[in-house]
Amino acid sequence: MLELQRNVIFGQFVETGSFIHRVDARVKIAATFVLLVASFLIDDFLGFAVILPLLVIIGVVSKIPLGYILRGSRFFLAFLIFILAFQVLFYPGGDVPESSYLWRWGILSVSTEGIYTAGIIALRVILLYYVTTMLMLTTSLVDLTNGLELIFGPLQRLKVPVNELVLVFVIAIKFVPIFIEEMERLARAQTARGVPFDEGGAITRARRIGRLLVPIFISGFARADTLTIAMNTRSYRGGRYRTKFRQMHASPSDWLALTLVTLWVIVAWMV
């Protein structure tokens, strides 16, 4: 039966008590940012090859099983392959020498340049996805919110509504796993009524998922409503007026980890 939560782990937090879990959230966000920048700067396979061991280390240290991450990225990977197929087939052929065409049919073609570009894009997107997923898997929502608020706090002087923006961002992320769970529940209930979600080919299954969209939206609005009321009744107001019960502390080893990541990225960029 549908256990959707296995296939989409985006936005989930998994506590394993590892070193990465204990690193100060601000440091983790900064390291994530460094790696995001890296994904734009690095533009050859060698650079990504240099980054790879770093990603493996992060994965191992976090104690989150690789199988769990891979299975939980199934939909993402399927989507990525779909996009890449388009990228390769519709690669604009302006500067492609005739010799590098492997196959051609009308506007569709497969060229070595196309494959190379698609490969780099794939690695970039995977890096982006991996790094943000790892941040969310290893950082609780409260830490993530506090970390982002502290990092962007200075912008408040420029009248940027930092707290509100962070809150919207974090709620958006947090709603993804809730929606996934809700979809699972809906699919189960509808299966009991005779919509066989666990039978049929890929297209029929996809079409049945469409049936869940309207109820999902309705429950989404209802949840947002409840959340608003809950926040109002507890007199939530963001910004300078709030004080934190738990203060964040970055230890020397946290800073060391951030420095290491930054240096690693610089090396990968330079090679």
Binding site: M1, R185, A192
Partner: protein, 291 residues
């Protein structure tokens, strides 16, 4: 209530289930649950929250990833490959805890018609079933047929969900917390309706609840779950006799039983297996007369 030597309607044999098994977020819901439910029985599956009631319900219609243990319907293992799950789901009607999750269409009539249509009934038969089910639940067919479900109240939506299941004419009817969110009158009406239906259609009725208030009037047997295992299984009165233990398990006791437990302070031998206030009164008068 062993009826006529037929195989049990439903049987769970060493059934265990862990959600998201093999992932870091795995959580065990039930462990080694075994019981049999026979034709025409009225069974209450009771337990506090997180005791595994809903997981057991889902297992009846094979809505979970297969795990250890077996589930039999009419003597056949439903987890076996090639088992006709479509037929199983047409014979076991489940009303879930939150009615919204099982509503498929936008309009009352269309939603109640969903099951019969999917089961391949003709248009006229389907119409008859829809009319009958809606009228039974006091949602008059002509008034409610074309109403939008999302514009209905919570109690009405629950009744639409029940109508959708009743329209299937399933021999087994399972209700997960059917009384939640209903006012006293609505609860009384639903209670009477379920009892009538059970009698008329000779249904096997299974009710899940954390409260014995209504379940004790509706069921003749309780299966008590605690943290995923069966801790008591027997006739209602037999289970109620262990009121102290039930209360320790965070199960809401029926009001007469609560009264009886108070009486035990005065009369230590006061029985707790009282189903109604009248029974409580009789017991009390008897003791007052002798003392």
């Amino acid at each position: 209530m062993q009826s006529d030597g037929r195989s049990p309607v439903l049987e769970l044999k060493d059934f265990s289930h862990t959600y998201l098994e093999g992932t870091p977020r795995a959580s065990e819901a039930v462990r080694d649950v075994s019981f049999r439910i026979h034709h025409g029985e009225r069974v209450g599956i009771v337990g506090a929250t997180e005791s595994g009631k809903s997981t057991v319900v889902d297992s009846f219609a094979h809505l979970l990833r297969p795990g250890p243990g077996q589930v039999f319907y009419e003597g056949e293992d439903v987890t076996a490959p090639g088992y006709n799950r479509g037929r199983l789901r047409r014979e076991i009607g489940i009303v879930f805890q939150r009615p919204d999750s099982q509503i498929i269409e936008d309009v009352v009539g269309a939603d109640v018609a969903f099951g019969p249509t999917a089961a391949g009934l003709s248009a006229s038969e389907t119409r008859e079933r829809v009319e009958e089910s809606l009228n039974t639940l006091e949602l008059p067919y002509p008034d409610y047929r074309l109403r939008y479900i999302h514009a209905l109240s919570g109690g009405q939506r629950r009744r639409v969900a029940i109508a959708g299941v009743l329209a299937m004419h399933t021999p087994v009817l399972v209700l997960d917390e059917p009384m939640a969110g209903l006012d006293p009158r609505g609860r009384k009406e639903l209670l009477e309706l379920l009892l009538t239906l059970q009698r008329e259609r000779e249904l096997t009725l299974i009710v899940c609840s954390a409260s014995l208030t209504d379940a004790s009037l509706l069921c003749d047997r309780f299966i008590v779950l605690d943290r995923g295992t069966v801790v008591m299984d027997g006739p209602v009165r037999e289970v109620l006799r262990e009121a102290d233990r039930l209360s320790e398990l965070d199960i809401t006791l029926p009001e007469p039983v609560v009264g009886a437990r108070e009486m035990q302070k005065l009369f230590p031998d006061f029985p707790t297996d009282v189903l109604t206030e009248d029974e409580l009164e009789v017991e009390l008068l008897e003791r007052l007369a002798t003392s």
